[in-house]
C-alpha cells in the first residue's frame, strides 16, 4: 500500500468515532450495493471491505483492518483546517492531492445537492499554484492550499453566481467579493459555490431553483441506527432531513468533509441555523467587522458574511483572514482588527454567563431544553457566574425582523430589472412592462411575496405605522442587550434552534414565511442588535441528529466569545459524523489514485 504515500499514520488526529452503542453489523444494503457497483475499486478491495463490515458483533474489532488502512490514509479530509495546513507545510500531503480528494468526494456526495457550481478547473489550477509555493517554501499563510466553498450569493469573478434564482442564472460576475478576494489572496482553493434558499430567503435551503439541500446526517450511521426502517427503497428517499437555511449548502459541504471551511451569510440566523442542524460551527461576526462588498444584499443593516467550520479554532483562523476595514464597504468599522489565537479559558471567576429566560420559547424541544440546562450547569461547576437575565422584547424580534427585512428586500431587489445583468424577458412594449415581465419570470413566490409585503409596509400611509415602528422596536431590542451586558454579563447562552432537523416532507408542508418565523426566533435578535454569535454543536438528539447551542457576545468581542465557545466545544466532545462515502475517499491511496484519474 505504500506507493507514493505522502500521508502517514498519526499525521493528524484521527477523529475517534463516538459510536452509539451498536454492535458492528452489516452495512446498509444501499451502501454495500454502491460499493460493489463502484467500477474503480478493484473487486478484491471491495470484497475485503464488505467482509470486514459484515463480520457480526465484533464492535471495534471488526473494522480494525479498515481502520488501520484509514489511519494509513491519514483521515486527511476529516482533520481540522489547522491540522491539514500543518500537513501541507510538512509535505505530508500536497495541495493538488487534497484538492482532488475533495473534488472526488463532492462527486460522490452529489446527491446532497450542496453545490450549485463546482469550479474544478480553477480549483486545480489554484492548487497547483499553491503546490509551487509550498515547494519553494513560501506559502502565503495558513490558508494556502486549503479547499474552501463559498455560498452562491457571493460574487466570484469568472464563476457563475446565481443566488439559486432564475434571475441570475448564467450570470458570471466580473469581480470577486472582498471576502472571496481575501481568501484567494491567501492561497485558498475555491472548490465551488454552494446551494441556498433563493436569494438567502428561507430557513431550510429548500426554496432555491436548483432544489433542496439534503442534510449529510440523513445518511449517517447515527441517524440510520435510530430511524425506524420502512421498506428499503422508501427509506432512503423519504427519510432525509433538511439542512436548515439559508446557508444549507455551505453547512452540508463542511459537514460532509468536502471542504475545510465555507462562507455563508447571516441575516436572521442563516449561518447558525444550518450549522446547528448539520453539526458544524457557525459564526456570525459583529456587524461591521467583515466586509459585505460583493455579498448580494438581502437586508443591508443586518447582513454579515458567516463562517462555517468544523471546529471553533478554524473559525478563528477564517475570522482572522477576513475581518478588517474595507474601503469598498462603508459599513465596516475603521478600527484595527488583530487576528488572534484563541487562548485557553482558565479563569472562570471573572466570567459571567447569562441565560435569557425569554429564549425558552414555546415549541422548544425538551431535549434541547435539557442540553441548555446541562450547559449552564457545566459553566457553573467550572466556577463561572451563571445568572438568569431578561430580554423582554425578544418575542417581538421576529415581527420586527419581518417588517424590516421585507422593506429592505423591496429596495434591494429593485436592482433586478434585466437591463444590465441577469435574466431579461423578451417583452418589448415598454421599459416598465419589460421590468415587470423579467421580475415575474425571474423570482420565485418567496421573493415576490417579500417584495410585495415590503412595498406594502413602505406605502406612504403605512410608513410610520409599520416601518418606523419596527425601527423603534429594533432599538428597544438592541437596548435590551445593552442593559444585560452592562449589568456585568459577558456571554449569553441560548439554544440555536427549537428542535433538531425536520424531515423534508414535513418541512415543506408550511410555507416559507411561517417556517422562517418559527425557525429564526432564537437567532434573529443577534442580527437586530448586530452582536456576534456562534453555534457550537453540542450533542445528538434522540433521532441521532445534531443539536447545537448558541453563544452571543458583546459587539466586537469575538475573542472572548470564541474563547468561551472553544472551551465548551472541548467539554462536549461532539461526535464525528459516520458517513460511508467519506471513509471510502479518505482511506487507501490506491483507491484515491484511481479516483483522481477518473476525475
Amino acid at each position: 500500500m505504500g506507493v507514493g504515500i505522502k500521508t502517514r499514520s498519526g499525521s493528524g488526529r484521527v477523529a475517534t468515532a463516538r459510536l452509539s452503542a451498536q454492535p458492528g453489523g452489516p452495512r446498509s444494503q444501499w451502501a454495500a450495493a454502491f460499493l460493489a457497483a463502484l467500477p474503480i475499486v478493484p473487486r478484491g478491495v471491495a470484497a475485503r471491505w464488505r467482509r470486514a463490515a459484515a463480520a457480526p458483533g465484533e464492535g471495534e474489532g471488526r473494522s480494525a483492518g479498515v481502520r488501520r488502512r484509514r489511519r494509513a490514509g491519514g483521515a486527511m479530509l476529516r482533520t481540522s483546517l489547522r491540522q491539514v495546513s500543518a500537513a501541507l507545510k510538512d509535505g505530508r500531503v500536497t495541495p493538488t492531492e487534497l484538492c482532488q480528494r475533495c473534488l472526488a468526494l463532492i462527486k460522490t456526495t452529489k446527491f446532497l445537492n450542496a453545490y450549485i457550481t463546482v469550479a474544478e478547473e480553477t480549483a486545480l489550477k489554484q492548487a497547483e499554484e499553491s503546490e509551487k509555493r509550498y515547494k519553494r517554501g513560501q506559502p502565503l499563510g495558513i490558508l494556502d492550499g486549503i479547499p474552501i466553498a463559498v455560498k452562491d450569493n457571493f460574487n466570484t469573478a469568472g464563476i457563475e453566481t446565481t443566488c439559486a434564482s432564475n434571475m441570475l442564472k448564467g450570470y458570471i460576475s466580473p469581480y470577486n467579493a472582498t471576502v472571496v478576494q481575501k481568501l484567494l489572496d491567501q492561497g485558498a482553493v475555491l472548490l465551488g459555490k454552494t446551494n441556498l434558499d433563493e436569494f438567502a430567503m428561507g430557513s431550510g435551503s429548500t426554496d432555491g431553483v436548483f432544489g433542496p439541500v439534503r442534510n449529510p446526517w440523513s445518511y449517517s450511521k447515527q441517524y440510520k441506527d435510530k430511524s425506524v426502517p420502512k421498506s428499503h427503497s422508501e427509506d432512503e428517499e423519504s427519510n432525509w432531513v433538511i439542512t436548515g437555511g439559508s446557508s444549507g449548502g455551505s453547512a452540508a459541504a463542511v459537514s460532509s468533509f468536502t471542504c475545510f471551511a465555507a462562507l455563508g451569510s447571516d441575516t436572521g440566523g442563516s449561518t447558525r441555523n444550518p450549522a446547528a442542524h448539520c453539526g458544524v460551527v457557525g459564526l456570525k461576526p459583529t456587524y461591521g467587522l467583515i466586509s459585505r462588498h460583493g455579498l448580494i444584499p438581502l437586508v443591508n443593516s443586518m447582513d454579515v458574511p458567516g463562517i462555517l467550520t468544523r471546529c471553533v479554532d478554524d473559525a478563528a483562523v477564517l475570522l482572522g483572514s477576513l475581518a478588517g476595514h474595507d474601503p469598498k464597504d462603508s459599513t465596516t468599522i475603521q478600527d484595527d482588527f488583530k487576528p488572534f489565537e484563541i487562548p485557553n479559558l482558565t479563569d472562570f471567576s471573572k466570567l459571567s454567563i447569562g441565560i435569557p429566560k425569554e429564549y425558552h420559547a414555546p415549541g422548544l424541544s425538551s431535549e434541547i431544553l435539557a442540553l441548555w440546562s446541562k450547559a449552564a450547569d457545566l459553566f457553573k461547576n467550572a466556577g463561572a457566574k451563571v445568572v438568569e437575565v431578561s430580554l423582554p422584547h425578544t418575542r417581538y424580534s421576529i415581527v420586527c425582523y419581518h417588517v424590516l427585512c421585507t422593506a429592505e428586500v423591496a429596495s434591494n431587489m429593485a436592482r433586478f430589472d434585466g437591463l444590465e445583468y441577469g435574466h431579461r424577458s423578451d417583452m418589448k412594449d415598454s421599459t416598465e412592462s419589460m421590468y415587470a415581465a423579467t421580475r415575474r419570470e425571474g423570482f420565485n413566490d418567496v421573493v415576490r411575496g417579500r417584495i410585495l409585503s415590503g412595498n406594502y409596509f413602505l406605502l406612504k400611509q403605512n410608513y410610520e405605522k409599520y416601518f418606523v415602528k419596527a425601527q423603534k422596536v429594533r432599538r428597544l431590542i438592541a437596548n435590551d442587550f445593552v442593559k444585560v451586558f452592562r449589568s456585568g454579563v459577558d456571554i449569553l447562552l441560548t439554544p440555536t434552534t427549537l428542535s433538531d432537523a425536520a424531515l423534508y416532507t414535513e418541512f415543506i408542508q408550511e410555507d416559507n414565511r411561517t417556517r422562517s418565523a418559527q425557525d429564526d426566533i432564537l437567532t434573529q435578535a443577534a442580527n437586530m442588535a448586530g452582536l456576534p454569535a456562534i453555534n457550537v454543536p453540542t450533542a445528538l438528539s434522540e433521532r441521532g441528529l445534531p443539536v447545537g447551542l448558541q453563544f452571543i457576545g458583546r459587539s466586537f468581542q469575538e475573542k472572548q466569545l470564541l474563547t468561551v465557545a472553544k472551551w465548551f466545544e472541548k467539554q462536549v466532545q461532539f461526535p464525528v459524523i459516520q458517513l460511508e462515502e467519506v471513509k471510502r475517499h479518505d482511506s487507501g491511496v490506491f483507491q484515491h489514485k484511481k479516483s483522481a484519474s477518473f476525475s
Binding site: I333, S365, S373, Y421, E432, M434, R440, S499, A517
Partner: protein, 167 residues
C-alpha cells in the same frame, strides 16, 4: 448552590412533548394551548407571536392597494395565494402595535454611534466598461438598450394580472 437554573421550566414545561419523528408539529400544538389575550407585560412564559389564533384581526386589503403595489413593485401576485400571503404578512406585522414605543427613536443602523467616514476624492478604479457590458443581453456600442420608456404600465383592466377578475 442552585444547580439547575432552568429547573422551574423543566418541571412545568410549556407545551406537550414534541413527537420525536415530527418535531415541527410542536409549535402549533403549543400555540393552541397558549392563553388567548396578548399581554405586553413580561410573562414568565413568553408566547410565540406567530401564525395562530392569537393574531390581530385580518384586515382585507383593497384591490386598489393591491393594484398599486403591483405597479410599485413591478411584480405580480400571480394568484390568490399571493394575496393570502400578503394578508397573513400584514396580520403578522400588526403585532408590532402591542409594543409601547413612546419616546423611542427609530434605529437605522447598529453603527449609529460611529461617524460615517469620508475618503479622499481620488479615482481608484474604473475603466471596466467591457466587463460590465458583458453581462447585458441587449446593448449597442457602450449603451444598455431598453424598450421605450415613459410608457406607464397598463391599467388593471388592460393588464394581464390575476387581480383583474377580482374587482
Amino acid at each position: 448552590m442552585r444547580a439547575v437554573l432552568l429547573g422551574p421550566w423543566l418541571r412545568a414545561g410549556t407545551g406537550p412533548r414534541p413527537h420525536p419523528a415530527t418535531p415541527h408539529r410542536a409549535p402549533h400544538r403549543a400555540l393552541r394551548a397558549a392563553p388567548t389575550a396578548p399581554n405586553t407585560a413580561c410573562d414568565s412564559q413568553q408566547r410565540l407571536p406567530a401564525a395562530g389564533r392569537d393574531l390581530p384581526a385580518l384586515k382585507k386589503v383593497s384591490v386598489e392597494v393591491l393594484d398599486h403595489l403591483e405597479q410599485l413593485a413591478l411584480v405580480d401576485f400571480r394568484d390568490s395565494e399571493g394575496v393570502e400571503r400578503l394578508q397573513k404578512a400584514i396580520q403578522f406585522a400588526d403585532q408590532l402595535h402591542e409594543v409601547n414605543t413612546d419616546g423611542v427613536e427609530p434605529m437605522d443602523s447598529v453603527l449609529e454611534d460611529r461617524c460615517l467616514y469620508l475618503r479622499e476624492d481620488d479615482v481608484t478604479e474604473g475603466n471596466c466598461t467591457k466587463e460590465l457590458l458583458e453581462n447585458a443581453r441587449e446593448k449597442v456600442e457602450e449603451y444598455f438598450v431598453a424598450p421605450p420608456g415613459n410608457i406607464p404600465l397598463p391599467k388593471l383592466e388592460e393588464r394581464e394580472t390575476f387581480l383583474q377578475g377580482s374587482k
